[in-house]
Symmetry: C2
Subunit: 223 residues, 2 copies
Amino acid sequence: MPTPLSPTDRTTLNRKKNRALTDRSALYAVLDEGLICHLGVVRDGVPLVIPTGYGRDGNTLYLHGSTGARSMRDSDGVEVCVTVTLLDGVVYARSVNNHSMNYRSAVILGKAAAVTDPDRKMHGLRVLTDHLAPGSWEHARDVNAKEFASVSVLELDLTEASVKMRGEGPDDPEDEVAADLSWAGVLPVRTVFGEPEPSKDLVRAWEVPAHVRDRELKGTLPA
Amino acid sequence: MPTPLSPTDRTTLNRKKNRALTDRSALYAVLDEGLICHLGVVRDGVPLVIPTGYGRDGNTLYLHGSTGARSMRDSDGVEVCVTVTLLDGVVYARSVNNHSMNYRSAVILGKAAAVTDPDRKMHGLRVLTDHLAPGSWEHARDVNAKEFASVSVLELDLTEASVKMRGEGPDDPEDEVAADLSWAGVLPVRTVFGEPEPSKDLVRAWEVPAHVRDRELKGTLPA
């Protein structure tokens, strides 16, 4: 049995409830497939939304950035919203009004907190690296003391979250389907990796390492 | 000469100014290539970030949704933040700490306003359709009166905006480049359209229309 999400009033969807997924595995699937999130904070009373990297370990989401980045300083101990969206297709319907998008999205609300314990902070950095560039933690040089001090890691509990998806063809009324006056269907949208581009200043004739060459997107559509 | 962006204190970047683009054509290029935006609003004092469609005409951004959607009702006349992010690659550096992402992003701040004038609202719907599904305005059934009443269109002026990008290889210190202990380079990330999937309930044996079959992503990287 999947663990249910525990939505509060804030994360209970008001509309199109049929599109809401309520198990935690769907939340994790979206977060594990996404590459970036959009972090929302309130600054001077207005919303600010910035793209940033993240990583997930169990029920914890990690975010990172330079300690000099205002968005990170502003996020410690305050309410944030983290949204990850995977766009899966453009839905062409018989009528302009019924056009839509297929997507999966996760919205997480909570108080972000700076991770200060050194062991847990290093663990957070590893989770972030494993998400951004799986295999790099083993391949590339470790984080040194100066770098460790200059980076901040935030954690956010995944308890208050909602997941939505649309993953089907156009939803036209029967009479318009029968009239057959327009083409209808879905144009899939995919995120793919291209051919690795080695840095021009590599000294040796490196082969592209397997963790880069064979990288695939992690996620799978929930059943 | 490109028209410069006119950033306010809120949209002037505090860090990595070298990554900020200051001409309006770069803003338009990001907006025209993106398919979805992330809309940030403040609700009950906390940020809420939701993915949604948009369209641009000149210096105006249009957003739409059902009049029943709380995020749309909440956005009329209030400060919003709209962010569009195009992820272009994962940057593998010699050290874990220097890993990064190549991206282009636009952040727009301003007061969204509901478009109530019928002609301008219909124009906004056309702009939104032309962005989501170019060619569908000509191909699919027009918006009828009932649909027109049930949809809301918001407009947002693009004056207060910032554009950021990173589009290069890893930025490692010289001694680490010379040591050549790790592979370094960029794994490109691309958004692509798949093969169109005709709706199973089409009556005729339709050929996929050219506006769907030949659709390409609009954008080009700014020089």
